[in-house]
């Protein structure tokens, strides 16, 4: 019998809103947690949620439907969605190779996958710009082919692929490691072709993790600022991202307008994550059935 069972408080001794425990420190730990969460996150967040309405509902609507704001939101969220899609494929490939095809130096490569998490975004931004600028090592050959990456929406997508890369790898990799190869071998024995196995056996098992990773990469990319502003060119209506518009509005002391754009980003982000979550729930249900 575990100590928890021996020491459980006698029934009816003292009714509490939480499950009784002999461990001390609940009020203190909960107090510290809630105080810090309120001071650092919830109170500031409430300012973001409340301040746009100083403009009135019509004013908020006017701000978020302003063509420049709409264009910026479209660029931030559109590029984030495209980058997350690319990262789904790339992340799947890298995770698969790391788990199923060991090669010399695998551990080093595994560690390098996390570099976009560790490298400050401003550093990534100027490095990517230097590479893809028209006179950069990759920018020059690409521009000779007629493709311009830096200072175009393509550059934004590229920077967002960089920042989102580790998410899919890190969510899919552990699931692949736990996936028993017996099932795949059984499918092979029963005559399934490799593409069939990949699609009908492996994919259903990793789909929920893949969606989680795509969601994380999308949320991160939609709000990304540091790695994007150097390579984006920041042309209004064309390559201006939503976080930059917030910065511009703040510089003009348009607090309510900046908060309205921030709130719109928050709502769009959570809508995206909600859609991915429901998709995941559907997949999980189908997986069990």
């Amino acid at each position: 019998m575990s100590p928890a069972l021996i020491l459980a408080a006698p029934a009816g001794a003292r009714r509490s809103w939480r499950k009784d425990s002999v461990l001390p420190g609940f009020p203190l730990a909960l107090g510290v947690t809630l105080t810090w969460l309120c001071l650092i996150f919830l109170i500031p967040l409430s300012a973001l949620i409340l301040r746009p309405w100083e403009l009135g509902p019509a004013g908020v609507w006017a701000v978020v439907t302003d063509p420049r704001v709409l264009a910026a939101l479209r660029i931030s969220f559109g590029a984030a969605a495209l980058a997350a899609l690319v990262n789904a494929g790339l992340g799947l490939l890298i995770a698969w190779v790391l788990v199923r095809h060991p090669f010399p130096g695998r551990r080093l490569v595994d560690a390098l996958v996390d570099l976009p998490f560790a490298l400050p975004t401003a550093v990534a931004g100027i490095a990517l710009t230097a590479i893809y600028a028209p006179n950069g090592p990759l920018g020059r050959p690409l521009s000779e082919l007629g493709v311009q990456v830096a200072y175009t929406p393509l550059g934004i997508i590229l920077a967002l692929i960089f920042v989102g890369l580790p998410f899919v790898v890190r969510t899919v990799q552990p699931v692949l490691e736990d996936l028993s190869q017996d099932v795949e071998e059984a499918a092979l024995t029963l005559g399934a072709k490799p593409p069939q196995i990949a699609w009908r056996v492996v994919m259903p098992a990793i789909a929920p993790a893949l969606l989680t990773g795509v969601g994380l990469a999308f949320a991160r990319a939609a709000g990304e600022y540091g790695s994007v502003i150097f390579i984006a060119g920041n042309m209004p209506l064309r390559s201006e991202i939503a976080p930059l518009l917030i910065v511009i509005k703040l510089e003009q002391f348009d607090y309510a307008g900046a908060a309205a754009v921030g709130l719109a980003m928050l709502v769009l982000s959570f809508t995206g994550l909600l859609i991915l979550n429901s998709l995941q729930a559907v997949l999980a249900r189908r997986g069990r059935a």
Binding site: S21, L23, F26, A111, F230
Partner: protein, 277 residues
């Protein structure tokens, strides 16, 4: 498994993955050092010896030294609450703690301006008190704390959940006091996880750009952190200077990755991030 068991298909996949990582991750890293040393070691060292760069480095270290311990204490308290007790609203609390990760860094800076800026809710009060938060080190610290809030907590919560409460209950039963139990039983059990969380928290605190950029005001020598200094130099077309400062941050990233990997290899059983695998 050895290379001998490699199939042509496997080799092609490995090659594709390595090419993608090489172009996306290794090339930018190499580019930072290439550009920094473009005009030779002398120019590199001169750029690093700038007093403004040193002031930025000092501020970055100061901000991390304040924010990381605060969020480490928060992470320990949150993990103790969530992992060791059952109470209504527990999963809501977990969601709230994770939420700052899904918010744009610029918004994480914006919220502080909305509170303490010249036209902020508390702006006039702060002015009367003579306290400046925005365009000041205080604002930089607040923005950094918000951005790095989840790091330690999200590493410790799953770890402490896995470890359960048996050892703490045993200690209490044997007569140990609450703090003795915490410092002699719980803390030693989670020390590698705590270090892991602190490591990631610190890397983000020192490298944060968007949130800090909104509240700092970019005052050279005063409220400029290293990442902001990179931006200033870059916008002044001082590319050697910008990339020289960037090498310091890239070095920090590489050290972080090395320590993180070392922890993952040597203490895999004592880290939630790895045990989940």
């Amino acid at each position: 498994m050895t290379l001998r068991s490699l199939t042509p298909g496997g080799a092609a996949l490995i090659l594709a993955a390595l090419t993608a990582l090489g172009l996306l991750v290794v090339l930018p890293l190499a580019m930072v050092f290439h550009e920094a040393f473009r005009q030779g070691l002398g120019a590199y060292l001169t750029a690093l010896a700038e007093p403004d760069a040193w002031a930025a480095l000092r501020l970055t270290l100061l901000v991390a030294a304040i924010s990381v311990p605060l969020n480490a204490v928060f992470g320990l308290a949150a993990a103790w609450t969530i992992a060791k007790f059952e109470f209504p609203g527990r999963s809501l609390l977990v969601t709230l703690i994770d939420l700052p990760f899904s918010i744009s860094p610029v918004v994480s800076g914006l919220v502080w301006v909305l509170l303490f800026g010249a036209h902020g809710w508390l702006g006039p009060l702060m002015q009367e008190l003579g306290v400046q938060v925005i365009f000041n080190v205080t604002g930089v610290v607040l923005a950094t704390v918000l951005v790095t809030l989840p790091f330690v907590a999200r590493e410790l919560i799953p770890l402490m959940e896995q470890q359960g409460t048996d050892e703490e209950i045993a200690a209490i039963t044997l007569g140990a006091g609450p703090w003795t139990t915490f410092f002699r039983v719980t803390l030693p059990n989670v020390k590698w996880g705590l270090l892991y969380g602190v490591l990631l928290c610190n890397a983000r605190a020192m490298g944060e750009f968007g949130a800090v950029s909104v509240v700092s005001g970019h005052i050279r020598g005063l409220t400029n952190t290293l990442p902001l200094h990179v931006e200033i130099l870059y916008n002044e077309y001082d590319f050697v200077g910008a990339f020289a400062v960037a090498t310091v941050l890239a070095g920090l990233a590489l050290v972080t990755l090395a320590l993180k990997s070392a922890l993952e290899w040597r203490h895999a059983g004592e880290l939630a991030a790895v045990r989940r695998h």
